[in-house]
Amino acid sequence: MNIIHVIGFALMLIGIWGMLTQKNMIKIILGLAIAETGVQLVMVAFGFIKGRTAPILDAAVPVKDAVDMIVDPVPQALVLTAIVIGVAVNALMLTFVIKLYQKKRSLSITEYKDLKW
């Protein structure tokens, strides 16, 4: 599915571009969230096989024909993990932003120069 790959790569580029150029810290995290979605989309698309069905065995997909009828379940399992960890990491980063905001009353990353040389 080339179209899905193009969408995923475009989302990755937009997200990383946003992370590099935006000044607002919440927007930086939003950029990371967009890039994450793009990576996950590309990973699921790598496991997709045209004309096949979901990896759930039932009356329509008997066990013995499963190999020739289902898409690849391994990337799906990995992406499942990635989504849950992604939201946890986003929540932790937002917590850091809140703490920083309480210190300096500003969301702009240019205000925080403590490590700048």
């Binding site: 475009a10 699921v44 990896p55 992604g86």
Partner: protein, 85 residues
């Protein structure tokens, strides 16, 4: 298959527009909602890519909880003056 390709293209365009909007709109609330829209479209794409498990996770966690967590964080940092470009 042609119809599905068309749906993919349209949804991809919508997602990319929403992502660019999220990065360049001034209002942070709109930007958070735009990221939620990207997640929601992604969940529909997962369904079309035959990954119902991932679609459910993305709809419940990516589009639902994540957006709310961002909105709460924004609420906590509300009285920030608009100094970003």
């Amino acid at each position: 298959m042609e119809l599905q390709q068309g749906i993919f293209v349209l949804m991809g365009l919508a997602m990319i527009v929403a992502a660019i909007l999220a990065m360049y709109v001034k209002d942070l609330v709109s930007s958070i909602i735009a990221v939620g829209v990207v997640s929601l479209f992604a969940s529909i794409l997962y369904l079309l890519l035959q990954a119902p498990d991932v679609a459910m996770t993305e709809a419940a966690i990516g589009a639902g909880l994540s957006t709310l967590i961002f909105l709460y964080a924004l609420h906590k940092t509300k009285d920030a003056e608009e100094e970003n470009d």
